[in-house]
């Protein structure tokens, strides 16, 4: 039986819903020993900034129950290095390469996007609005509708590429932020980024992260992510790409049923580097076994 696994993620169609989360998959080639990268729906590369960043001091991570905290701080060599040295190595991987963009000021986002405009084969940019806004005293752009809108507005004006906006869950009502970014021109919404958390060493009485707090990810956040995807799917029309603790086919199906058109697998890549390739196969098998000819029939199929 022929099954159609293609999905629309905001004006572009990808071969299947299985994608990788930025910051957990490097630039893709690192996983070549474990995954047939050309089988994936897409790869969200490590977050890029206009200027190179060293990131936060070590220690940047702590394992927590069913997950981990990270405070990497967007270490990367800047967008010019990405365009000149990294993108040429990955453009032929046979999967959709989506570039994740970050900034401390609106200008940073815009300048970064302008450099990426030069590459036609990059069809979509993921805008991470969880970045602290230095002009607003370090509060993340994405924690208020106004902050979120200001970034998306500026990026929308700066590019013709498709824009996926990655939402922070550290908000009172995710729907407000989702509607704001949709209104400002987002073609798709990805969610959720990490939740703010903390870990303490009781023996030394010191925080276990150099930055004191950090982002929580892994299976422990899945219930929050699912809830937010479902809530958002009730109010927006643009495709939603769900992420947060996905580690199995069941998880993938749950996100699709909640309203996601596609998913990003993140932290679990560290536990099982082969997981994304396995999920592509398992999803296909599931559709076959259940006589589902089109994966899109699962999207938003939750019966309430």
């Amino acid at each position: 039986m022929v099954v159609d696994t293609t999905v629309d993620i905001g004006g572009i169609t990808i071969k299947n819903p299985i994608m990788t989360a930025s910051g957990t998959y490097g630039y893709g080639y690192e996983f070549a020993p474990y995954v047939d990268l050309s089988s994936l729906g897409g790869i969200l590369v490590k977050g890029t900034t206009f200027a190179p960043r060293q990131g936060n001091p070590y220690p940047r991570s702590v394992e927590t129950p069913s997950g981990m905290l990270n405070a990497v701080g967007l270490q990367n060599k800047g967008v010019h290095y990405f365009v000149d040295h990294i993108y040429p190595e990955i453009s032929q991987l046979g999967t959709e390469i989506i570039v994740n963009v970050n900034g401390s000021t609106i200008d940073d986002y815009v300048r970064c996007v302008e450099v990426l405009n030069g590459i036609d084969t990059i069809r979509m940019i993921e805008v991470n609005i969880s970045c602290p806004n230095v002009k607003e005293g370090g509060m993340a752009f994405g924690v208020t509708p106004k902050g979120a809108t200001s970034v998306v507005d500026a990026v929308r004006k700066a590019t013709n590429k498709k824009i996926m906006v990655k939402l922070s869950p550290n908000v009172t009502d995710i729907r407000e932020i989702a509607l704001a970014v949709e209104g400002a021109g987002a073609d798709a919404i990805s969610m959720i980024n990490t939740m703010l958390g903390m870990a303490i060493d009781h023996k030394t009485r010191r925080p276990l992260l150099s930055t004191i707090t950090g982002g929580l990810s892994g299976p422990c956040v899945k219930p929050i992510a699912l809830r937010m995807v479902w809530q958002t799917a009730q109010v927006v029309k643009v495709p939603i790409i769900g992420m947060g603790g996905i580690s199995s086919l069941e998880d993938v199906l749950q996100f699709l049923i909640a309203g996601a058109s596609a998913v990003q697998v993140g932290t679990y890549n560290f536990v099982n580097p082969a997981i994304t390739g396995q999920l592509v196969k398992e999803l296909n098998q599931y559709l076959q076994e259940n006589n589902i000819t089109d994966v899109r029939s699962l999207i938003g199929s939750l019966e309430v």
Binding site: G26, P33, G55, R60, S61, V62, N70, F270, V271, P273
Partner: protein, 263 residues
């Protein structure tokens, strides 16, 4: 030296408890593991099927039998994953992502004719593999193993082909009484070593580094930071270096030249 990397379901052939906290696992790799080659300095990311833990843990490779397709891991029980591994038995299956990391330089642009290998505690693991590599190249390394007390001196008998093997313990319960830097081969300076390779507690390596720098002897050491992924993508295991900023211990290391380290 690039090797193909795999996630291997290995069978535990032996799990030998060496003392209260150290244990040595002999692993049989599956056939697909034959494409992997292991060098001294390489490590593996081990998975423990316990609900108490989530991520893999990095463990140095201490031996590789290419013909029999086996490796050994020397593990110290320090937390949730390693204490779970300690209880595994022969016949159990262990998922190992391997081989990872770079390796000690054994080509002629670094290696001289009189290398000194210094191991501290569980750091003896990669030093054992390194000594085997050097012996195979026809070089007799001098090996110095140090630990707090005799029960923590492990795998000594595996260095049987090394002619100049020395042991130190902080409490004097075995070998020379004192830390590695107090051993006569260091303090009396009778032999001029061409290079130093070391693995052990950070403070030990820093102290040895001070001595090596003073004597102008090139040195390589192996670092150990928390490694969620072990494959260079999460950017959590970074070490700040003199010329390259934050580098990944799992991929740009774990072996580094002394010159690059900012202690």
């Amino acid at each position: 030296m690039y090797s193909q990397k795999k996630i291997l379901d290995c069978t535990i052939l032996e799990n030998t408890h060496l003392n209260d906290s150290y244990f040595l696992m002999l692993l049989q790799l599956p056939e697909e593991g034959r494409v992997c080659s292991f060098r001294a300095g390489n490590f593996v990311q081990v998975y423990a099927k316990t609900p108490d833990a989530f991520l893999r843990r990095p463990i140095s490779v201490c031996s590789w039998d290419k013909d029999l397709n086996r490796i050994e891991l020397l593990i110290q029980s320090v937390g949730k994953v390693t204490s779970h591994l300690q209880m595994l038995q022969s016949g159990d299956v262990l998922s190992v992502q391997a081989p990872l990391g770079n390796s000690y330089s054994t080509s002629s642009d670094f290696l001289g004719s009189r290398p000194l290998l210094i191991a501290g505690g569980v750091g003896v693991a990669p030093i054992l593999l390194l000594s085997q590599e050097l012996l195979q190249k026809g070089i007799q390394p001098t090996v110095l193993i140090g630990a707090r007390t005799s029960s923590l001196i492990v795998l000594k008998e595996r260095f049987s082909e090394v002619e100049n093997l020395f042991v130190t313990t902080d409490d004097g319960s075995l070998g020379h009484h004192g830390n590695v830097l107090s051993h006569p081969i260091i303090t009396e300076g009778k032999e001029i070593f061409t290079n130093v390779y070391t693995c052990g507690p950070r403070r030990m390596m820093q102290a040895i580094g001070g001595w090596a720098q003073e004597k102008k002897i090139p040195m390589e050491l192996s670092l150990e930071n928390h490694m969620p992924c072990g494959m260079g993508v999460c950017l959590c295991c970074v070490e700040d270096t003199k010329e390259q900023g934050n580098v990944r211990v799992c991929t740009d290391g774990p072996v580094f030249n002394l010159e690059s380290i900012k202690w």
